[in-house]
């Protein structure tokens, strides 16, 4: 099975390390992906609150492109579209549900697409990398590749609000465990923490700053309290909020933090023994290396 890759704006900008590490990890797993040609904004946040029909049409254009592209190939089966960014994943999934369930909306979206010579048939399946790792590739294969075990490392798996809510397509909405199972397959310890899906502050860090920072701070505090080496996430905005504002939170709230916040795929790439440069490690503000160094040494390569 091959996959179409929909990066969205984040993975080309502040989420660059997510893109780099995701593609490197998929390469290592021999999973072919092709970036969707001529993709556009997923239609997230601002669009959705200004004009729903336009937002859904934008999202549907990407879905239509994926379906069209897959028809050009000789491959059979349902086209698979990987949307790694939590917001993209949510908006694309939401678009599919809404177009399927609301006829009046579907009519307008289809008309819009037809105007540019596109057609959305509802054939494509929107997939999150967690889903692909767990259900298509499987834990045994991933564990097998994880030669540089993360043994001893304690991580907090942070899913954010969008990956399993409101559409729990591949994991529990209240207690998701897919990321926990992945990191544990690679030897790390996923600590139990109840903040897995709590708000990181989202765009509030840019609008109502003190509230946004306060929400990020709660997460960081709890991660420290649980004694983790890093927070692991699959959302570019979560990663951005939790990592980039650490200094500012420290300044305003008199609580300094130095907590690595990494993308799951960076950690996976590290466990697979891929070169640092391929994993965007150097783009991190709070480097992961010290945490890793703490646990290496005594731990032999996966025998």
């Amino acid at each position: 099975m091959s996959y179409w890759y929909y990066p969205g704006c984040s993975l080309k900008s502040n989420g660059k390390p997510y893109e780099e590490s995701l593609l490197a990890v998929l390469r290592a797993l021999n999973v072919p992906v092709r970036e969707l040609d001529d993709w556009n904004c997923c239609g997230a946040t601002s669009y959705m609150s200004v004009d729903e029909v336009q937002a859904f049409s934008l999202a549907a254009r990407n879905l239509a492109l994926a379906e069209h592209a897959s028809r050009q190939t000789t491959e059979k089966g349902v086209p698979q579209l990987i949307a790694p960014c939590a917001a993209c994943f949510l908006v694309l999934t939401k678009t599919q549900r809404y177009v399927e369930q609301h006829e009046h909306l579907a009519r307008r979206v289809h008309a819009g697409l037809a105007a540019v010579g596109l057609e959305y048939r509802g054939e494509v399946r929107v997939r999150h990398p967690l889903d692909v790792f767990l259900n298509d590739i499987g834990l045994p294969r991933i564990a097998e590749l994880g030669k540089r075990r993360l043994a001893g490392m304690r991580v907090a798996c942070y899913y954010g609000c969008q990956v399993v809510r409101p559409f729990a397509t591949f994991d529990s909405a209240h207690n998701p465990t897919s990321m926990d199972r992945l990191v544990e397959a690679l030897g790390a310890k996923a600590v139990r923490w109840p903040l897995k899906t709590r708000c990181c502050g989202g765009t509030l860090t840019g609008t109502i700053r003190d509230v946004g920072l306060r929400l990020s701070q709660l997460l960081l505090q709890e991660a420290v309290r649980r004694g983790v080496d890093a927070i692991v996430t699959v959302c570019p905005l979560c990663q951005f909020n939790l990592e980039c504002y650490q200094q500012e939170i420290g300044r305003t709230l008199q609580e300094p933090f130095r907590m690595p916040v990494v993308f799951l795929t960076q950690l996976m790439g590290r466990a697979f023994g891929l070169p640092e440069a391929d994993l965007g490690m150097r783009r991190l503000f709070v480097p992961l290396a010290p945490a890793l160094a703490r646990h290496e040494g005594g731990q032999p390569a996966h025998a």
Binding site: H174, N175, R192, P194, L195, E222, R225
Partner: protein, 669 residues
């Protein structure tokens, strides 16, 4: 088109019922009656407010005599409700009861149509179909079949126990079949009962002993019903008896084998104590288990698993009661009536991860806390946390798996009351601060509201709001190691965060996981949520749609002990009514074979779900046992030579009815 007048020129009387406004509110009953008056063979056509009332029935009887009616049609409710009434009425009036045809213009018309015009047209159509059919009705007779006085009771909880004792005390022989190793059911696990706070064991165990010693009760525990055949009055039952690896007639429950078991420590989760304590591979479920017999757990016993144990238990047993070669045995019995009292299962709280059950060790289900409070429970009646500490603050979350669109939508009825009971008992045992988190307090019942009032006075806190989550997200040093509960207090209008040491989940009641299998086995129905379906929610609450099979207790829906016992008594009374009548009358809507047309092909025989058809070797013809035939019609449709016919569903009757249905009259439309 068939000429209705040709069949002995029936004189038909028509009665259109208003059913108050149930029918007349939607259907123009006058117009329907007037229309019917002009149909062929109709001598008179009336409409009346309540046909089922005495004056209504009287009216029919007078008309039969005065107008020499030979056929009667009543257009009213479902025949399920009043066919019997009207058949009886016309029989009293001197007609064969099967010269009646009912037309259902309530459930099939007025209740399901909003448009009065369309409803009236449909009522006329259905009535016309009946007029075309009724002339072909033959005089039929009900057959009497003797009833077997034995009763099968399935399930040995309080409902099954009460039903069995009631019947046994009336002198009837009862087989009580229980799946577990002991009777007692859920009630045996409770410490106290609400609202009187009397000890559950003190009121239950005398009844358990009475079951064991009653000469009229055959008690089979650790057994399951696996086969049900036959019909009301004559059910053939197959019971599977699982091996305990103990000769029941020899074991006296001395427990010497338990002491001698090579497992010196109890290592296996004790089911009766909800896994809060351990037991050995050989055990008695609880001190008052009835019967007082040990059993071996084949998943845990080394001898049963591998055959390589030194069997110190066998050595310890003076009475030579242990038999590792025991296998499954089957008993075949015949009974006339059956009472199902198979109970409920508690909602699995781990389905709601935000309440932390299975994640945080100090989150308990209500049943677990019942065991903690109980003197014979895992802590000897001490309400303590897993680390032995006494809780200082305890929260009880109501409606866990009840009144919830994501899980079960129904109210489980008992949780408010048992939560109050637990609040009282936990406070009594620990002096902790107790919070109840509820959506609505539901305390209808004798002495229940007073009990709620008493709890309010005892200083238990009641916070109205559905709990959002239970976590260990401590934010201050004194919150460390505690459970943090977040809830919207809807009366104060604020979100609260409450540190607790223990959380008790008031789990709801749901149908047993295998309720559908049991339903199929006994050929009864389930309602949408999966509880067994009663014949009528108000007027036949313990009957099922299968004659001779009754339901009692929480298998029919969530209920408390008083209601379960009341229902068990009612089910026993229904069974007694059948038994003491001595016979059942069978509906004559059975299939019969026209011998001269039967080619003896036997294709009908394997199709009959009731094994009612046999092959007469000498005549080379099939024959139908009327007592076994349920009138399903399968053989009638399948017979290649058309030699099987069915009373009340004769070809002429059906085809005329169809003709009538489509004999549209332009004026009607």
């Amino acid at each position: 088109m068939r000429d209705v007048g040709s069949n002995g020129s029936p004189r038909i009387g028509i009665y259109v019922c208003h059913c108050g406004t149930n029918i007349a509110g939607t259907v123009d009953v006058k117009a329907v009656a007037n229309y019917a008056a002009g149909l062929p063979g109709v001598v008179l056509s009336r409409e009346y407010k309540y046909m089922c009332s005495d004056p209504g029935q009287e009216l029919i009887q007078q008309d039969i005599r005065g107008h020499k009616l030979t056929r009667v049609i009543v257009a009213s409710c479902s025949p399920l409700l009043h066919e019997h009434t009207f058949r009886h009425a016309i029989a009293q009036g001197g007609l064969n009861p099967y010269f009646l045809q009912m037309v259902n213009i309530r459930e099939n018309v007025s209740w399901v149509n909003e448009d009065p015009r369309a409803a009236t047209v449909k009522a006329k159509d259905l009535l016309r179909a009946a007029v075309y059919r009724v002339g072909y009705h033959k005089a039929l007779e009900r057959k009497k079949v003797p009833i077997d006085p034995h009763v099968l009771v399935v399930g040995g909880g309080i409902a099954g126990i009460h039903a069995a004792l009631t019947l046994a005390n009336a002198g009837k022989k009862v087989y009580l079949v229980e799946r577990e190793a002991t009777i007692g059911g859920h009630m045996a696990m409770f410490d106290k009962t609400f609202p009187t706070l009397d000890c559950a064991a003190c009121i239950l165990t005398p009844k358990m002993s009475a079951v064991k010693t009653h000469p009229n009760i055959t008690l089979w525990t650790y057994s399951e019903v696996v086969g049900v055949e036959g019909f009301v009055g004559n059910y053939k039952i197959k019971v599977k008896r699982k091996p305990r690896y103990i000769k029941e007639d020899l074991c006296v429950g001395c427990m010497e084998c338990v002491t001698a078991c090579i497992f010196k420590e109890a290592r296996f989760p004790d089911e009766f104590n909800q896994g809060l304590s351990k037991r050995k591979p050989v055990y008695i479920p609880f001190p008052q288990a009835t019967p007082q017999l040990v059993l071996f757990d084949p998943e845990a016993c080394i001898q049963l698993k591998s055959g390589r144990c030194k069997q110190s238990c066998v050595e310890a047993c003076d009475r030579k009661a242990i038999d590792f070669r025991q296998t499954v045995e089957f008993e075949d019995i015949t009974v006339g009536t059956i009472i199902l009292a198979t109970g409920f299962q508690a909602f699995d709280a781990s389905r709601l991860p935000y309440y932390g059950y299975g994640i945080y060790s100090n989150v308990y289900t209500a049943l677990e806390v019942e065991r903690l409070i109980n003197a014979s429970g895992p802590t000897g009646g001490e309400v303590v946390l897993r680390d032995g500490r006494k809780p200082k603050a305890v929260g009880i979350i109501h409606c866990v798996g009840s009144r919830d669109e994501k899980t079960n939508r129904w109210c489980s009825r008992v949780c408010c009351m048992y939560s109050l009971k637990l609040a009282h008992l936990v406070k009594e045992h620990t002096d902790a601060t107790i919070y109840n988190f509820y959506i609505d307090m539901r305390t209808p019942g004798k002495g229940y509201e007073e009990f709620y009032d008493k709890l309010l006075k005892e200083g238990v806190h009641f916070i109205r709001g559905r709990v959002a989550e239970v976590s260990d997200w401590a934010r201050t040093p004194d919150e460390e190691g505690r459970l943090l509960l977040r809830v919207e207090d809807t009366l104060v209008g604020t979100v609260r965060r409450i540190p607790l040491d223990m959380v008790i989940l008031a789990v709801g009641l749901e149908p047993r996981a295998d309720a559908q299998d049991v339903r199929r086995l006994f050929n009864i129905s389930c309602s949408t949520e999966g509880f067994f379906l009663e014949r009528h929610p108000k007027l036949a609450p313990v009957n099922t749609f299968t004659d001779g099979i009754f339901i009692a207790g929480a298998c029919q829906g969530p209920r408390d002990i008083p209601d379960a016992v009341a229902q068990a008594g009612a089910a026993a009374a229904e069974a007694l009514a059948l038994i003491d009548a001595g016979y059942v009358e069978l509906e004559p809507n059975t299939a019969y074979i026209t011998e001269e047309d039967c080619s003896g092909c036997r294709s009908c025989i394997p199709l009959c779900p009731y094994s009612a058809i046999t092959f007469l070797g000498d005549k080379k013809k099939a024959a139908i046992n009327e007592a076994l035939c349920k009138g399903c019609g399968t053989c009638v449709a399948a017979c290649p030579s058309g030699s099987i016919r069915q009373n009340l569903f004769e070809d002429e009757e059906i085809f005329s009815e169809i003709d009538g249905l489509f004999a549209h009259d332009v004026a009607v439309l």
